[in-house]
């Protein structure tokens, strides 16, 4: 019996009294509607009886008079546990005490839908700015971005002064703020570290600097337009997002995607992974002060970009996937050139793997640094290379095969060292594995159609879709009410999952370990912040001349 079947059996046998509705519409996808407040029992059961169960995310959906909370549990497939609360008094028990990894997801739902999680240790804003007006929950269906002009200024008390926990003996402890602008971060986020000498005592993070409101925007665009919207969640893993979204919609509409399209999707998806991993390995070199490695890895990433450009016409944004298939074919001459490039990059990737394995200074900096034990990794529900570096062999491509992965032989890379080095090595080796997949897929593309036509109106229904993005499991939840517009689109990018563990990993490390650890998590904040329309028209605006900036009185006011 597979892990997924086992999970379903456990729930059926032990929780029969709590289940209102039970559906398994597709293999490895179960949707279970529970009686109110029984979600904790179900999650505890899964954690107890099914090995390596993790929480993928929590989706909140406004159903009109109720708010539905979907707890997507990853255990071989996806078991979606539904728990409904009233919209007037949305209070629900937290699950952070049984699964600390739910911390950020609950904060996100609290922030955007106003659901209060009873017993949450730190129920604060996650995505919205600190001066966001009270009582405005942008993901509720009746919220309109431009209808709340008045309330913009009556801001909530700012939580700018939030501290990373009280620390005694503040004399020798200084706050080191990294971000929103700092050389270690290539995207704007803020981390506050309490530092004693060279040691990190505590850390706190502040997300939401690149909020674009993509989930809300997706509800206002048609399904086929949303493909291009979700592509823009993240430049690097754009193919992962479009694959994931198209799969969810195809799932709802019962669309059979032609096999040739599945292979092409796989190829573009793996090309994404290769260049994302190479990018990260280079950045790791930069973060560890190994500039030569950085420059060389990035040079050798170029042949991959060239393949992407030849196949899709674009270097980065592929615009390749669409609902029902793909948009462009691949010519035999391109296949030849691509295979040549793949061969070339394979040689270089093997060399870089030995560099990471053997270079003394790299190993000194990464071995035993930022240890995330297997049990902690499960507790915090980390994903992708971070989980695989901690000895958890999760990989959506193997556990829940999609596109053409069911037919392509490959290995799941897994290291047991649990440290920064292991996380980097996972990526270095996955590059080789991905190049093999690309080579195999290129030489085994079946013939046939590229896409099937899909109607703009998608029948009523819901679907969860998972793919293994370069940074880990990416999950899209799409709900349709039978129109051409989605009722709800929920995206959880892998970075959010991996960030939960960051303060735990970094506590007690040296300042110099911060870049190494951040790098090994491979954070991509633009993927993470995506949920809300930020109305800049509301806020007060003014300008300062250089003299006014130099005026110390003004500056003190700012500080």
């Amino acid at each position: 019996m597979s892990k997924f079947e086992n999970a379903v059996e456990v729930l059926k046998n032990n929780l029969a009294d709590a289940i209102i509705e039970f559906r398994v519409p597709k293999p490895r996808k179960a949707y279970i509607l529970l009686k109110p407040e029984r979600h904790r029992d179900a999650i505890s059961l899964l954690l107890k009886h099914v090995e390596d169960t993790e929480l993928s995310t929590i989706t909140g959906t406004d159903l009109g008079n109720e708010i539905e909370l979907n707890y997507h549990m990853a255990c071989g497939g996806t078991v979606t546990l539904k728990n409904r609360v009233s919209r007037e008094k949305p209070v629900v028990r937290t699950i952070t005490d049984i699964l600390p990894g739910a911390n950020l997801y609950e904060r996100e739902v609290f922030d955007l839908l106003g659901v209060i999680f009873d017993g949450h240790p730190n129920l604060k804003r996650l995505m919205l700015p600190d001066n966001w007006p009270k009582g405005q929950y942008p993901l509720r269906r009746d919220w309109e971005p431009h209808a709340n002009q008045e309330s913009g200024s009556n801001s909530e008390e700012t939580s700018q002064t939030e501290s990373a926990g009280e620390v005694d003996d503040a004399g020798s402890i200084i706050n080191v703020v990294m971000g929103p602008q700092h050389p270690v971060l290539h995207e704007p986020e803020r981390f506050t570290f309490k530092v004693d000498g060279e040691r990190v005592v505590d850390a706190e993070m502040h997300l939401g600097y690149v909020h674009r409101g993509i989930e809300k925007a997706a509800e206002r665009m048609m399904f086929f337009q949303d493909v291009f919207l979700v592509e823009r969640i993240c430049g690097i893993c754009n193919a992962a997002h479009t694959t994931c979204f198209c799969q969810a919609v195809e799932d709802i509409g019962n669309v059979e995607t032609p096999p040739r399209a599945l292979y092409l999707r796989t190829i573009i998806h793996e090309l994404n992974r290769v260049h994302s991993h190479l990018l990260l390995l280079g950045v790791a070199g930069h973060l560890l002060g190994f500039e030569a490695l950085f420059q060389h890895v990035w040079r050798d990433r170029e042949p991959i970009m060239n393949i992407v450009e030849r196949i899709t016409g674009n270097r980065l944004m592929s615009g390749f996937n669409t609902i029902g298939g793909v948009r462009r074919d691949i010519a035999p001459s391109i296949v030849e050139k691509a295979r040549k490039n793949v061969e070339e990059v394979t040689k270089r990737a093997e060399f870089y793997k030995t560099v990471f394995e053997e270079d003394l200074t790299l190993r000194l900096r990464t071995e035993g640094v930022g240890v995330l034990s297997k049990s902690d990794a499960l507790k915090f529900c980390v994903e992708g290379p971070v989980a695989r570096g901690s000895g958890i062999a999760v990989d959506v491509r193997k556990d829940d095969p999609y596109a053409a992965y069911g037919e392509i032989p490959f290995n799941v890379i897994c290291y047991k060292e649990c440290d920064t080095w292991a996380r980097l090595m996972v990526r270095a080796e996955e590059v080789l594995e991905s190049l093999d997949i690309i080579d195999y897929a290129l030489s085994h593309i079946p013939g046939g159609r590229l896409r099937v036509r899909v109607q703009r109106k998608i029948p009523e229904g819901e679907a969860v879709s998972r793919v293994e993005a370069p940074r880990g499991e990416l999950i899209h939840y799409v709900k349709s009410d039978g129109t051409a517009y989605p009722y709800r689109v929920k995206v959880r990018s892998p970075t959010l999952a991996n960030l939960v563990a960051f303060p735990e990993i970094i506590r007690g490390a040296y300042i110099a370990d911060i870049p190494a650890v951040i790098g090994s998590l491979d954070p991509c904040f633009s993927c993470t912040d995506r949920m809300v329309f930020l109305d800049t028209q509301n806020g007060q605006r003014w300008h300062w001349s250089l003299d006014e900036i130099n005026n110390s009185k003004n500056r003190n006011g700012l500080i």
């Binding site: 190994f290 200074t361 000194l364 900096r365 040296y510 500056r555």
Partner: protein, 330 residues
């Protein structure tokens, strides 16, 4: 009167201040070009032939930029520290014989090796103060890192500098250089290798560039600096780099002495000095480019547990084999 003119020309023009400045800018360019080629980049290419004027352009730009002094800093210290560091480095360079004799003629004395090392140490305190006066967390951490690292590595560096002095039976750099009929690097290679490693740490080059690890603490001690004051800090770093490379040349590679083929020996002295120093710079850059940055605790451990015992051992070895070496040199 004639004497005064020579004194002024030697101090200000050649081989004094102006020449040293040009030399420092040239090494700055050379260093950048080498690093760029290691990293598969072009490096400076547009300003002058092969971009050789790029450092000058950079300094002109820095000197003309707005100079901000943050309000809460200790003004006097904030302004004085970079200038102090810069002056001390220039002063130290005046005792290094570039064309065979010191910048100020006949100013060398028994013990100027110790003076140079002392001046370099004092100048590093200036750099520390510049960071400390900034009142910025990044600067503060950078400054403490400078002290932690520099003070540690100063000890093995001085111990290792005694080796050549012992062989030459003199503490004057001019005498040490003059007594190398065979470069000491060939006679006591162990000392030379360890000296270069300690120097790498003193000059804050990779894998020891911890005090200004940009991905950790942004600019380190120079975070709050801008404009002219930043230019002085950058110049100090460049001067320190030249002093370091020059010390290796003088102590281990026979300084400015080499085959004189024709013409004025002084020009050949400068030629050999340049060639040897460029070689040292290349080695320092090479090591810096094939390694990642270490962590401060690893660097401190490496110093006290590894480099200091090794440097004492190497000094002992030098003393033991000295009679043998002397018979070789004759």
């Amino acid at each position: 009167m004639a004497f005064d003119l020579i004194f002024i020309v030697r101090t200000l023009v050649f081989p004094g201040f102006l020449f040293l400045l040009v030399l420092v800018l040239f090494f700055d360019w050379f260093e950048r070009k080498v690093a760029a080629r290691f990293q598969n980049r072009m490096g400076p290419s547009y300003t002058g032939p092969l971009g050789i004027l790029q450092p000058i352009a950079d300094y002109i730009k820095l000197f003309s930029k707005e100079d901000i002094t943050p309000k809460q800093t200790n003004k006097l210290l904030f302004v004085a520290a970079p200038i102090l560091a810069f002056s001390l480095f220039v002063f130290a360079l005046f005792y290094i014989p570039i064309d065979g004799s010191n910048v100020v003629l006949n100013s060398s004395f028994e013990g100027d090796l110790i003076l140079v090392l002392l001046l370099v140490s004092l100048a590093n305190f200036g750099i520390f103060l510049s960071g400390w006066a900034s009142l910025n967390p990044y600067s503060g951490i950078g400054a403490t890192r400078v002290l932690t690292q520099f003070l540690g590595y100063d000890i093995p560096l001085i111990i290792l500098a005694i080796g050549p002095a012992f062989l030459a039976k003199s503490l004057s750099i001019v005498n040490i250089t003059a007594s190398q009929t065979l470069p000491f690097a060939l006679l006591i290679p162990w000392s030379c290798v360890l000296f270069v490693i300690a120097l790498q740490a003193e000059l804050e080059k990779d894998p020891f560039d911890i005090p200004h690890a940009e991905t950790e603490i942004v600019g380190g001690y120079e975070t709050e600096y801008s404009g002219r004051k930043l230019a002085f800090i950058k110049l100090s770093e460049d001067f320190q780099f030249l002093i370091g490379a020059a010390l290796v040349t003088e102590l281990f590679l026979g300084g400015s002495y080499g085959p004189v083929l024709f013409g004025m020996p002084e020009l050949w002295h400068i030629f050999w000095f340049m060639v040897k120093t460029i070689g040292v710079v290349f080695v320092l850059e090479y090591v810096g480019n094939v390694s990642a940055r270490l962590r401060i605790d690893q660097v401190v451990h490496g110093n006290w547990k590894l480099l200091i015992p090794l440097s004492i051992l190497s000094l002992a070895l030098t003393v033991i084999v000295e009679p043998l070496l002397r018979s070789v040199i004759g």
